[in-house]
Assembly symmetry: C2
Homo-oligomer: 296 residues x 2
């Protein structure tokens, strides 16, 4: 990983932390809810989806301020999903980003409302006036909503819960992950690339879609590898919990070695899909390398 990429990544992460802090109300009315929303959204995380928004924005030389709002919206959707996924009725996890999960630090009702209100705030931000041509903005908003809903992230979480104790085929596992994590990662790429002055050509759109699908899967395969090989301290969330919960993963399906090979294959395919974009795809390439390198 080059020093330049590392620097860019840290800059985006700091900028996101500051912007998230600014866009979430501090106190006043419903002070405890607002405190809990800040707890759930602030304080780190790799900010992979914002990084994808900014990196994809470089393909079309998009404005920083526009990309920032898109990155905030995607990250707030992600933060909402974490607050809800950790609840006892869902994945029942007590640890997130190295700290107690939101419902542990506060309470279940608050964590539920935190997720609800973070989702709302995402769409509110993305509806702000003057961000870009209004018709394009509505398109991006619809893209984010489709990716988050019952045919995307929320539907994938439902499939995930239904898969506990079952043996899924690889296509079933891929569909579940394409929805649960892939859809929002794909949306991050398209939001970033949608911030340019002109719409993408059909051909570029198709290639970007191939890239986005591969990187979504790659992210999940690496996540499965990490859940199996890394420690709870490194992850900042409970390690080995997929196996403990008897959830199907790429590692349980293919074995460790084949899952690593598969990550390598997806990395090559994702990089190949970017090859037609030239130098402007440099950040996306480096980010693909970074996502793949997390496993080591």
């Amino acid at each position: 990983m080059s020093g330049d990429f590392q620097e860019w990544m840290s800059a985006v992460q700091s900028r996101m932390e500051a912007a998230l802090s600014e866009c979430l109300p501090r106190a006043g009315v419903a002070a405890r809810l607002h405190e809990a929303m800040r707890y759930a959204a602030l304080g780190g995380g790799k900010r992979v989806r914002p990084l994808l928004v900014f990196a994809a924005g470089e393909l079309v030389a998009a404005k920083e301020e526009t990309l920032l709002v898109c990155a905030l919206a995607v990250e707030l959707i992600h933060a909402y999903s974490l607050a809800h996924d950790d609840l006892p009725a869902m994945d029942d996890d007590v640890l997130r980003r190295g700290r107690p999960a939101c419902h542990v630090e506060f309470d279940e009702a608050t964590a539920l409302l935190v997720g609800d209100a973070l989702q709302t705030r995402a769409f509110e931000l993305l509806a702000a006036p003057g961000l870009m041509a209004p018709a394009r903005q509505l398109e991006l908003l619809a893209t984010l909503a489709r990716a988050s809903g019952s045919l995307g992230m929320a539907g994938g979480q439902a499939l995930d819960l239904a898969s506990v104790g079952k043996t899924l085929s690889q296509p079933e596992l891929e569909l579940m992950h394409a929805m649960k994590t892939g859809a929002l990662i794909r949306a991050a790429v398209f939001l970033g690339a949608g911030c340019g002055g002109r719409a993408l050509s059909e051909d570029r759109r198709a290639r970007l879609d191939r890239f986005a699908k591969r990187i979504g899967l790659l992210f999940q395969v690496v996540d499965d590898l990490l859940d199996c090989t890394a420690s709870t301290a490194t992850l900042g969330k409970t390690a080995g919990k997929d196996k403990a919960a008897d959830k199907p993963t790429y590692v349980s399906l293919m074995g460790l070695s084949a899952a690593r090979d598969y990550a390598g294959y997806l990395h090559r395919e994702a990089s190949f899909a970017l090859s037609g974009f030239g130098a402007r795809a440099g950040r996306l390439m480096a980010l693909t390398d970074f996502i793949c390198a997390r496993q080591f």
Copy 2:
């Protein structure tokens, strides 16, 4: 209540039921989640918020198709809030619209995802292309989001949960209700009135705002009266639960008789705020009468 109003109300209710059914996926992937979303959103309810959207649309002679999408979005937000409010960690209610609550009929995790995905679907629908001038559409979307979030409905629910066992002053009770139910009712009025060809004048906007705030409060006062005086069978939800849960209400704050007087006062104030709009406010007037008459 005139026969004409009754007919109009039934027509809007049927149209909403059909449109909700059409806008929610039937099955395919994540079939159980989609079944549960339909369970939570379909099958009746008075559809007060859609009625307000359509009635307010008459002020500006808005198109039916445009109003329908706004009405769907508001009702989906309302349906999401019911699915979440009934959960054990929140109000813990087992009965809704005369049937088992969503988490009872399905399970808690599903009801949680149902709420999440219904909220997303609301914003997705309101981002559909070709509905109206895109800049106006973004404005209405932001209006709905503000009303639903931590400074509106979700924040009000947080205040409501925090109020259990406490004695609130009337201003505190009104703030809680203005957020919890008032904000979405106000948004319904502004979404309907925002569907016209031109934006409202400042003066008309201010008068409509006075109306919307009064009717939001009126709705809540009547709800409190009903919770105290009607049967579970009539309500289709558990009666007397505010008292059982030791929640402050207008009845516990003022007593039954003064709460009834207050409802009458709000009814007069709401009607007065509409008086400058002329004949086009006929439906909103009739709807105000209807909301007030629910208590008897």
